[in-house]
């Protein structure tokens, strides 16, 4: 195999797994990292996978001049780097603006494909009917500004990438993973409920959680850069046999984790969120609008999730089951 790939975000939770998958396939992987990044794990990956070739270059995604050299000879760009927390402005500064610079440079360099790793959170889940199957045909959230900074930045990132791809004739594939979990990341996420100090406010509990194990997800992303004739496609990545909030909590408790939680039944979520939203508005933000009906339904609407397109288009199968993924995550934490 002679694929030459540039990976951004290579030192991150998902990036490391993607680099390993690519190296296992014998690819030449160029990792664009910051000067301050710790690259020890990446160099370990090279020694574990001698079939592929690893190259580490330091640079700044905001600097288009340095990107020219980083993109030289590259076939596929896997763009994973993104800000994961912070204010909306800092998320845009850390995700959207670097992506714009990179995509423009990639188009200039005539790369064969640009794979943008986005998020399943971009869909307008709040306005979907309970029980609906969420797949790639679902509309993107029409009011991302009413959501969290992460989803807003991801939606804008996709818009910008599509504009650049259309204007410059660049092949773009967008991958929208669900909640990525695995060793190093907790199983309890905001999809299960809100953490307030040591207390977990469990929201509903029977809605399926769109989880994907990190290695499964990395495998799908790798394929999105390799499978021919899928230009312009969007692919959702979630695993089979999705868990619910209830099963996650039950699993953790059965493995000795102490969880202090308060349960909000599903029918109470919307009224509670309406009350919180009203108060935030009335008090002009004395307590910020962390919970509104729109945010609540975006997060905890009871939907079903399809991964049919990923299987069909990418020839992908989640190799690690949910049960095994959970076990590996817990085991790593204990160790």
């Amino acid at each position: 195999m002679s694929l030459r790939a540039l990976v951004t975000g290579a030192t991150g939770f998902l990036g490391q797994r993607l680099v390993r998958s690519l190296l296992e396939k014998g690819a030449h992987v160029r990792c664009l990292v910051r000067q301050s990044s710790n690259v020890a794990t990446l160099t370990d990956l090279q020694s574990q996978n001698p079939t592929g070739q690893l190259e580490i270059v330091t640079g700044d995604l905001g600097d288009s001049k340095s990107l020219v050299a980083s993109l030289e000879g590259i076939d596929v760009v896997y763009h994973l780097a993104a800000a994961l927390s912070g204010s909306t402005a800092s998320m845009f500064l850390g995700s959207v603006i670097p992506m714009r610079t990179l995509a423009e440079a990639a188009a200039q360099a005539n790369v064969q494909r640009f794979v943008l790793v986005s998020s399943l959170g971009v869909y307008g889940a709040a306005e979907m009917r309970s029980g609906t199957v969420l797949d790639e045909s679902a509309p993107v959230d029409p009011h991302p500004e009413q959501r969290d900074p992460y989803s807003f930045s991801k939606i804008r990132q996709e818009q910008v990438a599509r504009e650049i791809a259309a204007e410059r004739g660049m092949s773009l594939v967008v991958v929208r993973p669900g909640v990525i979990y695995g060793p190093g990341r907790p199983l309890l996420t905001s999809r299960v409920g809100l953490s307030i100090g040591p207390l977990l406010i469990r929201m509903g509990g029977r809605q399926p959680l769109p989880y994907t194990y990190v290695e499964n997800c990395a495998d799908a992303i790798m394929r999105a850069g390799m499978v021919p004739d899928i230009d312009g496609e969007t692919v959702n990545v979630v695993d089979d046999g999705l868990p619910t909030g209830k099963t996650v909590v039950r699993f953790l408790k059965s493995h000795g984790q102490r969880i202090r939680s308060l349960w909000v039944p599903a029918p109470c979520i919307r009224p509670l969120a309406a009350l919180a939203g009203w108060y935030a508005n009335w008090s002009e933000g004395q307590i910020p609008a962390v919970l509104t009906p729109y945010k609540a339904m975006s997060m905890w609407n009871r939907l079903r999730y399809s991964n049919d397109k990923a299987k069909r288009l990418l020839g992908w199968q989640p190799r690690v089951s949910i049960e095994e993924g959970f076990r590996r995550t817990i085991r790593e934490r204990r160790e």
Binding site: R34, Q35, S36, D60, G86, S87, T88, A89, S90, F92, L93, V96, I97, R100, E145, F152, S153, R156, V160, W282, S283, E284, G285, Q286
Partner: protein, 376 residues
Amino acid sequence: MSVTTSPIRVALVGCGQIADAHLSQIRRIRFADPVAVCDVHPDLAYQAAVRFEVPAQFTSIDEMVETTRPDVVHLTTPAHTHAALTKKLLGLGCHVYVEKPFTLDAQESLDVLATAASVDKTVCVGHDQLFDPTWLTAKKWIQRGLIGDVRHLESVLGYPIDGKFGSLVASDSNHWVRKLPGGLFQNTISHPLYRITDLLNDSQPDITAHWRTRDDFDFPTELSVQMQGTKQTGSLTFSTDLPHQRITRVYGTDGTLDLDFDAQTLRLSRRTKLPGAFAKLEAPFQQFRNSCWNLRHNMWRFLKADIHYFAGMKTLFEEYYAHVQGRGPIPIEPDEIHRVALLMDRIFEHCRSRDDASENPMEDKSPQTSEAVSCL
């Protein structure tokens, strides 16, 4: 200046993190009409416009001013751009509210203030904590003589470097903050400094200052400043090694006032009147009464939905807009703006002078202090 009662048209340039605070407070002001936002990055302008329902977004200042004709423009860009952009906006016929620090140095501040005067426009600087409810109450208490004459002021800013902004600065050696003449301090010490100067009678007290670099960092992270006036003294401490805190303590001839801006509390300690051992009961009783007052006061404010992190900012905006509309005095005098800029120059100059040339962690950019003073 003629009196205007129609809504004031407000625009904002620079849609980074602090712009959120500005836009959220502008929205709370009934007579303010946010008309436009502008940023060199279209994506930043977009997110601010959409989230705060601002009708127009631009990447060019000229186009923004020509299209929307704002009365006041808020400037929330990086500090090194303040002087040039403020002069540009003044030249385009706008009053300008500049986020702290006002300029890079005192020479620039003089230049900007002179430009404002020449075009008959005003500038204001973001010394918003002077309009925080806790500070305003403290000043009322001081004016009522509760602590006697002010003799010493202490101001502390705890600024964990792993915070939202600090971590960005620490991880990026090319961050614009690292390139300021006073580095991290230049972007942050305005607040603790003007909380001292507001009650300090001497315009330019004697200064001794020292900065220090913590292990594992390659830029100064700790700052200590001592001020000696004719009858008053002051001390400023900035530390990345302390948890976040904004505290000012005012020592008077009859008592002490302790202000915690984050807790929104005011602790008053007065000289005890009872003799001997009885005084040891009187002091804690005073503290108990004081705590009860703080609890009652904050509960009442909570019930009125009157507890907001940037409350001082809103009040300062309102007073500045009222001034622009000819309905009140300017909230921060130009002399005060320049005074703080000059003090900052002198602080950094003193720190640099204490560094050995070989150990100097900052690029030398010594302001021309004497020239600046003579221009006052």
